[in-house]
């Protein structure tokens, strides 16, 4: 800490250069923060997936349905504790850009299948009692200002017409990464009104007694319906969510590529800054060495300067990204939109690594400086 004034004084040497370098780190880490937020949004399903839940879908495609009659047959399989199901509704509110996911759910089992979603008992009871009732996630309710008691018209892209629902409850997630954009209504209401696809469901969710037994149960389910007109594909909820993300392309690779390019550019910019900074004060570094600063200490001072650029600039960038995410998802399409503390820590670590990498060559040059030769340049 006693060397901090010396490090900070050196950062004040060329204020414009310092501001620009800090700005480079801030912009890069701001971008990193947003990319990390988007990655979290895409991986949200994977991250929150229950270890004791399976998803059973039509083997051909997720958009192909399964018979409602499978419910009881799946429930009879040893190791299965609970079976529920849902249908994708695919509607929108007033305008196609006002999209949020709507699911027709089985009200008897849904709440037990997803205990991570918190709903007051009275609201749930009101919802169950109202065939046209719906439950809306907190973030969607806040975004469209839906309140309990409102009547919400949803235009059904798949099933046709305008479907009206009564808002009976607002659910919350028990974890920050839980998706609170969903809209749930009675599957029975869908079954009554739709003109086709009757007697089918979109997919089943299966809760197993023992998570370690889940692969066996999945195999038994698929075997049970093999060679039928409606073959199934059962997999863990995590695998299902990961496969869903994969359908949209390799988001992870895309984000890593962008991040990699940004950090590499940053490395070059900061490396150049540090090289200039060291070259300008060759004489001063020689004086420090003459006063008794060891080679290692000079190396440490230069690296500390580079890290200060990285951590201060990066800190500003991440703070700005955090502030932006606190304002909510600007696209309206992402299930969650938040910058996790561990991602911020990862960003700072990456910035520090870039800082050290950018400073290492100038620092080694400074460390190897011959005092007598350097003093001649003063």
């Amino acid at each position: 800490m006693k060397f901090l004034p010396l490090i900070l004084a050196n950062l004040r040497r060329k204020k414009t250069r310092t501001v620009l370098t800090l700005g480079s780190f801030a912009v890069a880490l701001f971008l990193f923060g947003l990319l990390a937020t988007i990655q979290t949004a895409f991986n949200q399903g994977v991250e929150v997936a229950g270890v004791d839940r399976l998803v059973v879908r039509n083997k051909v495609s997720l958009i192909m349905p399964l018979p409602y009659a499978y419910r009881d047959r799946i429930a009879q399989i040893p190791g299965v504790r609970l079976v529920s199901f849902a249908n994708w509704f695919g509607g929108y509110y007033q305008d196609p850009k006002n999209f949020f996911p709507q699911f027709a759910i089985e009200t008897d089992t849904w709440h037990r299948m997803y205990p991570e979603f918190k709903i007051p008992s009275k609201e749930w009871a009101d919802f169950v009692a109202d065939r046209e009732g719906c439950i809306i996630g907190r973030s969607t309710a806040e975004k469209y200002n839906f309140k309990i008691g409102d009547r919400v018209p949803i235009i059904a892209s798949i099933w046709g017409g305008v479907w009206e629902f009564n808002v009976r409850g607002i659910y919350e997630g028990s974890r920050q990464e839980d998706d609170t954009t969903q809209f749930w209504f009675h599957w029975k209401y869908l079954e009554e009104r739709r003109q086709y696809g009757k007697g089918t469901v979109g997919w089943y969710m299966v809760k197993v007694d023992d998570p370690d037994d889940a692969p066996r149960v999945a195999r038994v389910i698929d075997h049970k319906f093999a060679n039928s007109p409606w073959e199934t594909s059962a997999e863990s909820e995590r695998a299902f969510a990961a496969g869903f993300v994969k359908q949209m392309g390799n988001i992870q690779l895309l984000i890593l590529s962008i991040g990699g390019v940004v950090f590499f550019t940053l490395l070059l910019v900061t490396g150049n800054t540090m090289a200039m900074s060291v070259r300008e004060r060759t004489g001063e570094l020689a004086v420090l060495k003459a006063l008794g600063f060891s080679d290692g200490r000079v190396l440490g001072l230069i690296l500390a300067e580079a890290c200060t650029y990285a951590l201060v600039g990066g800190g500003f960038g991440l703070a700005a990204a955090k502030l932006l995410t606190l304002r909510g998802d600007p696209t309206g399409f992402l299930p969650v939109f938040y910058l996790a503390p561990e991602k911020m820590a990862l960003g700072l670590l990456a910035a520090a690594v870039v800082g050290v990498a950018s400073g290492i060559i100038p620092a080694v040059i400074a460390m190897r400086l011959k005092i007598v030769e350097a003093l001649r340049r003063v």
């Binding site: 006693k2 004034p5 010396l6 004084a9 040497r13 004086v287 060495k289 003459a290 008794g292 003063v378």
Partner: protein
């Protein structure tokens, strides 16, 4: 006691034996110092004079552990510094040597106080102690009221006085001054020389000074001339 004849000098603070320094420039060897001997007793004020290129600064660099000789040895307070590793030599410099340069060589982004405090950062002194020491050193050179000023806000003479305070603050075994008045007007030079005089006379500091200026050399107790890589005793000057 200062001798250049290679006599034993067992009591000497600084003992230089058969010191050679050869540079290689453009394929030719340039012998700057050749078999140089020197004994300097504690509390002596020695001036080195000689024409440009005679090796004065080279000698000072070798005495201060800034450079290594081609042959020979330099021993200070019993430590043969020519055998120390880079890290130990740095620690030795911090403890034993106070440097005063012709161009002051203050760090421009640090205040006078921070410049003076620099050598103390290498010690284990707590912050309050460092402050006390730095203020005392600045007081000694008469600049305690300018401690928050940056070098650009000081005159050349004041800058050199800050540099003297920096050299003194860790109470080194000896001071090495390389043309300390070379960049100063007469009045400022006199101020600096008076200070060195005071340090030598009142505080018994051992001072080795390279200078071209005969008036500066007059302040030293002993003036040595460096010619053709060897030291020649030039006689003791009368103290002012």
């Amino acid at each position: 006691m200062v001798t250049v004849d290679g006599s034993a000098g067992a009591e000497a603070l600084i003992r230089v034996r058969n010191l050679d320094k050869t540079y290689r420039r453009g394929g030719h060897d340039i012998h700057v110092l050749q078999g140089l001997n020197l004994n300097v007793g504690e509390g002596e004020f020695v001036a080195f004079m000689g024409p440009s290129g005679s090796g004065k600064t080279t000698l000072l660099n070798l005495l201060g552990g800034l450079d290594l000789p081609s042959a020979g040895s330099v021993t200070v307070s019993g430590d043969e510094i020519t055998r120390l590793s880079g890290r130990r030599l740095a620690a030795w410099r911090a403890r034993h040597v106070g440097f005063i340069f012709q161009m002051y060589n203050l760090v421009p982004v640090l205040t006078a106080f921070q410049n003076v405090e620099l050598p103390l950062l290498l010690t284990h002194l707590p912050k309050a102690e460092r402050r006390r020491h730095a203020e005392t050193a600045l007081d000694l050179v008469g600049l305690v009221d300018r401690m928050d000023h940056y070098p650009r806000q000081l005159s050349g003479g004041q800058e050199q006085r800050v540099a003297i305070a920096r050299a003194l603050v860790a109470d080194p075994t000896f001071l090495l001054c390389d043309e300390p008045t070379g960049d100063l007007d007469r009045a400022s030079a006199d101020e600096v020389l008076n200070l060195l005089d005071q340090l030598s006379g009142n505080y018994g500091k051992t001072i080795l000074m390279v200078t071209h200026d005969p008036r500066a050399a007059e302040r030293a107790g002993v003036v040595l001339h460096l010619e053709k890589g060897l030291l020649i005793e030039g006689g003791a000057a009368e103290r002012a």
